[in-house]
Amino acid sequence: MTALTRRDFGKYALGGLTASVLAQPAATVNRSMINGVQFGLQPFCYHDLPMTRENRPTLVKRLVQNGFGMVELHATWCEPRFDAPGVSAEVAREKLRNWRVTTPAAYYRSIKKEFDDAGVTIFTYWVGINESYTDAEIDATYQAAKALGAKGAVGSQGLAVSQRLVPFTAKHGIFTGLHNHDNLSDPDALSNEASFDKGLAYSPNFKATLDVRHFTAGNGDCIGFLERHHQRVSSVHLGDRRKNNGRSAPFGEGDAPIIEILRLIRDNRWPIIALLEFEHGTLRTGVEEVQLMFDYCKRALA
């Protein structure tokens, strides 16, 4: 039998698109548990759908349409926007801060219900905590994550900000996810294995959200990282990029070992969530492209 190359693999996935897009999956929480690997989506992938709370109902429909039972929900799907013509950045920021610290947990619980009703579990809450956050705002953000039912609050904050989060993650009993990019020159950034070593040492409640696209682009060894750190990895952001700060690419056309990662998770029964996230360009709709990439992953586990 001739072995499939990864490029061939993608072609076969393309052929399966039509039927998959139209299949209406059963509304169960684990509709995206595929052969022992729990999949979810970072809905940033729907590039054609602005991430606003007004678009949240459409997001829920799309998740179901693409067969996902789990999501990493970015805060912008829940929060209002205060930036507008004539409103300074400082004023908009202050309004958002006030909104965050005064919004009751019931608001987030109602959002959780929207997803629950559709059979979609909110695995993590993506938040962009940075130096501008007050302690009260950080506390409110973790409360929001908890009210959404999320297991953790995830972000691309650097090491200095991550240290600030230690007491909050302990207080609220949910983990903090450290997400990497491929900025290897900034000693504060999460990027390579050494930076994860530093960040994970801050708190036992910290977990790695390993972005395999960026880790690959930074010439990191995803398989080796998972071998050594799988107990501290909550999820992988699964997508493809080329090495040497290369561009994003459709699954199978870059250097990220996507198939190997999925089989590693499956065969070792690691409870690591595979969250599809990509930013390669496409002329297709977001739903079509997500389905193509998801089908690629399903074939990896067949």
Partner: protein, 223 residues
């Protein structure tokens, strides 16, 4: 028969889902443009992921460079600056994520991406300058200096440009000949004068400041 019906249903649903064209997201990319070269350029810009960070119409977003107002884009000619930058990428800085390198793209693909960036920038800058500030307070002396530095290689005298009918801003930003379709007839391919004029005016459009336009209007208006 059942299979045929299923196929028809599947095809129909996909068409409906993608607003009429399977594999082409009309809601995001927009209706196909009349000019196939521009359409191709736009598609390359989307296909290689440029639009997700830099905006399909160069809307400024996040930490990605604002291509609508980038000086480098304004100085670029036929991808002579954009091309090498795309191929090499932008290295990491202490506070910004790097831009990926696109070293595997062909010259044609690089050219197409640059073509879209310039076209979108021209449209955007025109809109900004047309809808921008009041242009009645320009400085005629500075307008004269600008004219002599940038326009006299073609317009030897400002006299034939002077107007009093309020159309100067449009005429400066977008002379009518710019909107004429480019011809690929062999006998017109060597019309270097028109091509050069088009190139020059589009480059100016990408780089005018609101002050430049106000000053030119002050200089060229017949009082």
């Amino acid at each position: 028969m059942k299979a045929v019906c299923t196929a028809i249903l599947i095809t129909g649903s996909l068409w409906a889902q993608s607003a009429g064209t399977p594999g082409y997201d009309i809601n995001y990319i927009g209706p196909r443009m009349a000019d196939p070269i521009l359409q191709h350029s736009k598609e390359m810009y989307v296909l290689y992921g440029c639009s997700y960070c830099h905006g399909l119409y160069l809307e400024s977003r996040g930490e990605a460079t604002d291509l609508m107002h980038s000086r480098l884009v304004g100085r670029d000619e036929n991808a002579n600056l954009i091309g090498p930058l795309l191929r090499a990428g932008i290295p990491q800085t202490a506070k910004l994520s790097p831009m990926p390198q696109f070293s595997d793209l062909s010259d044609q693909q690089i050219s197409a991406i640059a073509t879209w960036i310039h076209y979108a920038r021209q449209q955007g800058r025109y809109k900004e300058l047309i809808e921008g500030r009041d242009v009645s307070s320009g400085n005629a002396a500075e307008g004269k200096a600008y004219f002599e530095k940038n326009c006299t290689s073609c317009h030897t005298s400002p006299a034939d440009l002077k107007r009093e009918d309020g159309t100067l801003r449009t005429r400066i930003l977008r002379p009518k000949f710019l909107d004429a379709a480019e011809s690929w007839q062999v006998d017109r391919l060597r019309d270097t004068k028109t091509a050069a004029a088009r190139h020059r005016h589009l480059a100016l459009l990408e780089n005018y400041s609101a002050d430049d336009v106000a000053n030119l209007i002050a200089y060229l208006s017949v009082k």
